[in-house]
Symmetry: C2
Subunit: 114 residues, 2 copies
DNA sequence: AAAGAATACATTGCTATACTATGTGCTATT
DNA sequence: AATAGCACATAGTATAGCAATGTATTCTTT
């Protein structure tokens, strides 16, 4: 049985991390919601609940970082694909810079002490 | 003027990150609250508000990861020093492992695509 | 000596976001 | 016919960072 603190902590770490991950993901290629969950789970072992992803994508749209478009399928339910806007791209760049700094900061503290 | 989204995002990234940073910091050496804020700001450029740190330290104590002790000063206000417990040490190790995985996951997505 | 800055603790109220639970409707499998 | 999977979505709850505010002592500046 996992420590309860650790589980809560992991959930907290995801706050902020998830939007970063999702923006990175759709920066390579248009993806739809369900696919995002699957693909992120497969490549990173990070699980995003559906109740987390859909509100998150709507926030990104509301903030002007992404747009979406419905794409009809030959068979099956239509999919909503997400596309990064120009503002989304430049914001993502800022986020990448900050993340690199953060990584370095953490490394400093974990490896060399403070 | 900085993007509003970025500022909110940075604040969200701190959720979880700060407890990790603080636990790492006191794992090297006993530190008191005000000192933690100063020292983390100096070495990592991450600013922790006082209204963030003190409740955070109390949570860590409540969870059994740290203890604290008052130390009187020859001159000046007494300081509350924080010490990592055994449980805190092992929890920190789990957190370090998870953080490494997270770093790798993010690297995968930012560098090589998904 | 008085005023202000710095040290050092702490709480309250606000806000943002992840998660569980739940719901809808279509398609494929058994 | 029933179940699992696909694909969207919302409501309610809990957590944690932050600004604002408060208390009290000590140091620095004028």
């Amino acid at each position: 049985m996992e420590n309860e603190f650790i589980n809560k902590w992991k959930s907290q770490v995801k706050k902020g991390t998830l939007s970063f991950i999702v923006l990175n993901a759709i920066s390579k290629k248009e993806l739809y919601g369900y696919e995002l969950i699957e693909i992120i789970k497969k490549t990173t072992a990070i699980e995003i609940a559906e109740g987390t992803l859909y509100p998150l994508m709507n926030r990104l749209k509301k903030e002007g970082l992404a747009t979406s478009k419905w794409v009809e399928q030959e068979s099956g339910i239509p999919r909503k694909y997400y596309v990064l806007t120009e503002e989304g791209k430049s914001t993502l760049q800022h986020m990448r810079n900050y993340w690199e700094e953060l990584e370095l900061s953490i490394k400093k503290i974990t490896n060399h002490g403070i």
